[in-house]
Symmetry: none
Subunit: 411 residues, 2 copies
């Protein structure tokens, strides 16, 4: 089965936004074993959109169009597709009610123009959009399938996963089963080197590494008739990988490191609190990202100034004066101080120089100390990180989470 | 002048990498006033690449191909383009020397296969690549221009800026100047409705709205001979827009809301501190995202539990018992409490139900109270937000920043 992607939007042609939708859809289709030979980006222009759609339909079985489902007159995707597929647009009552309900929820008056979004192809399969106002739609005709999805990634991605993936799975009859491992503390090229035999073999299942912002994802993909055959194929390869690089693997379920740690803390009923300087709340925010964390997380402090470090955490003036705010000693006292203040099992203290300014020869931008206090014992990581301010801070948090993960595995 | 982008690479079709090259090239071309009507992504396949190139040449004056200039046999871009343009590939001595020098610099032996990269179209304009081994090339023939660039962004971007942009500027002789306004508190469709005359006119300059996660961007684009003519064209349109929707505009420099607020706080030397419940540190993190905020931000607390709200902020037990943790009253006491604790000018308290669980009929998921205490006065926003946990929390922060922005404009 062949598919093509048709991304609609002048903002893409003008280079205002990155085409993350195309990457997402291409990756998902690849996992479903559906080949994509072309991706096309076209603007909100009737003639050119029609031409691009017809070309795509002449080459592929399935065309997935994204974008151009908005309420404004320059949103043309639905109209063009309906015309090309010989479909009439009719008012879809359920979608109309969903759009009205959406505006009620956000406490705003629905503009007249939004009614256009409830006009849908008469014989289409409507895809609900709980995250926005534009419903998606699938049209099947003459052996071709066109799937329309809204452009914003927060709407497109859940709609694909909840509605389109099950539809395509049923259609293709074959299954690609993937297992995504997440690793930390090893680079992509080092990992590829350590697993070169497995990667080069390119048998069923295949093994491929992907670099992430901090860490690596390793994907094992089996082509199979059903899930249980797929699992049988994957199991020995997974065991082999674990025997080689098991120490770096923190998730076999493709879960982010922070989520893995949060869930593990909840499962073991171990409480945590953080004192953050350069990360400014990022570490705590990453814990609260997951529902249910109130069981193990009650408080944190952002102590950006020296005064705040003293006031909330009892970091000693002498420590700050002698070793500086960015030091092993301050990180230790921050971790111990927040653990004491919060009465938690684990205390985390993060202090560093995120840049772009503030670095010196002795303490350059990218130097971060992470103190982690587990009861009597306090570990301090000294990190020398690269990248911009955001990346330094994010990588510091990831290092903290990985050290906690290692600790949780031991206890 | 019309251009098309042709991105070559199976890794794009598989969704392994984001097409940042297309965004970069599209944005650059747009600024040069060169229209891009289509972008196509195609794999390393001779037949399909040839078809895509011929189609692009039939529609555009200039085709910019990126990727597929590597040394391996599956890199076909140059061969396919040369054939389509009737060009022979010949050894380009200077490029050969540059590739050899590159390998000397990185202290590695040059693989035999790299010689392929020095084979270039006989009548092409060769573009040097100081950041890699693949030279770029421009071929002009029969009124059409094909430009080949290497795929890796750190090679493509400098090559475009140093060699291709000057070439295209000379060719086109015109410029597009854009101004991006950022708005909050108004939806894309409402904005489009209020500015429909301006948008529909589609004159020079053009006006177009784009939805963001929370807020809208409005772009004014003038086609002009030079920057000062562009500014003259944009000025009256900007004034007109400000007279209609000025109250929603927070940036005329395309800056994020949190950055606008952070910079404004620094400029006015007004200090801020936050007490966060459902946002879990996100608001504080967004302030610390910008360098230089230590002048106006020294501390925040994440008070996820009721106990933490009492301990750090002095929220009264009676308030929590009578009105609940998610209430106007608690948000008020949180804002006042953190302002008192931090001794800051502004105190922010955020408490809400981010979901997916924890909602009730009376207090549904998405209900968030934001208290903002400016000296004697405390404002409370009652927000009814939609979307997932992450979106609810992000939109709550954006609402807090916008209210602070409004306050800062008044003082």
């Amino acid at each position: 089965m062949k598919a093509e992607l048709l991304s609609v939007g002048t903002e893409l042609l003008l280079g205002e936004i990155l085409n993350t939708d195309a990457k997402f859809l291409a990756e998902e289709l690849s996992m479903l074993g559906i080949s994509v030979y072309y991706q096309t980006v076209v603007g909100d222009n009737k003639k050119r959109l029609t031409d691009a759609l017809e070309l795509a339909l002449s080459r592929a079985d399935i065309v997935i169009a994204s974008g151009g489902l908005g309420p404004t007159p320059d949103d043309l995707t639905k109209e063009v597709i309906a015309e090309a597929m010989g479909e009439t647009l009719v008012l879809h009552e359920e979608s109309m009610r969903a759009i009205e309900a959406y505006y009620q929820r956000v406490n705003r008056e629905m503009p007249e123009s939004n009614k256009k979004q409830a006009m849908l192809p008469e014989h289409g399969i409507v895809l609900a959009n709980p995250n926005g106002t534009a419903p998606g739609c699938i049209i099947e005709k003459n052996g071709k399938t066109v799937i329309m999805l809204p452009g914003p990634p927060r709407e497109l991605e859940p709609m694909f996963i909840d509605s389109v993936r099950p539809y395509l799975l049923q259609k293709s009859g074959k299954l690609l089963l993937s297992k995504n491992l997440r690793l930390f503390g090893i680079g992509e090229s080092k990992l590829a080197e350590m697993l070169q035999d497995l990667i080069a073999k390119n048998e069923n299942p295949t093994v491929a590494p992907y670099a992430e912002t901090a860490g690596v994802r390793l994907r094992i993909t089996a082509s199979c008739r059903d899930a249980s055959e797929g699992e049988e194929l994957i199991r020995p390869v997974l065991e082999h990988i674990k025997s080689l690089v098991g120490a770096y693997i923190y998730s076999e379920e493709d879960k982010p490191l922070s989520q893995t740690v949060a869930e593990c803390l909840i499962a073991k009923n171990i409480t945590i609190a953080a004192a953050e300087s350069c990360t400014g709340g990022m570490f705590s925010k990453m814990i609260v990202d997951y529902p249910g964390t109130s069981a193990i997380f009650s408080e944190s402090v952002v102590t950006y100034s020296n005064e705040a470090k003293q006031k909330y955490l009892g970091v000693r003036e002498e420590t700050l004066a002698r070793f500086g705010a960015v030091s092993r000693e301050t990180a230790t006292e921050m971790a111990q101080g927040i653990r004491r203040a919060a009465g938690s099992d684990i205390g985390v203290g993060i202090t560093g120089i995120a840049g772009p300014d503030g670095g010196t020869a002795e303490k350059p931008v990218g130097l971060v100390y992470v103190g982690i206090c587990f009861g009597e014992k306090t570990d301090v990581l000294e990190l020398h990180l690269t990248g911009n301010r955001e990346k330094v801070r994010y990588t510091a948090c990831q290092n903290a989470f990985f050290r906690i993960y290692q600790h949780l595995c031991d206890c």
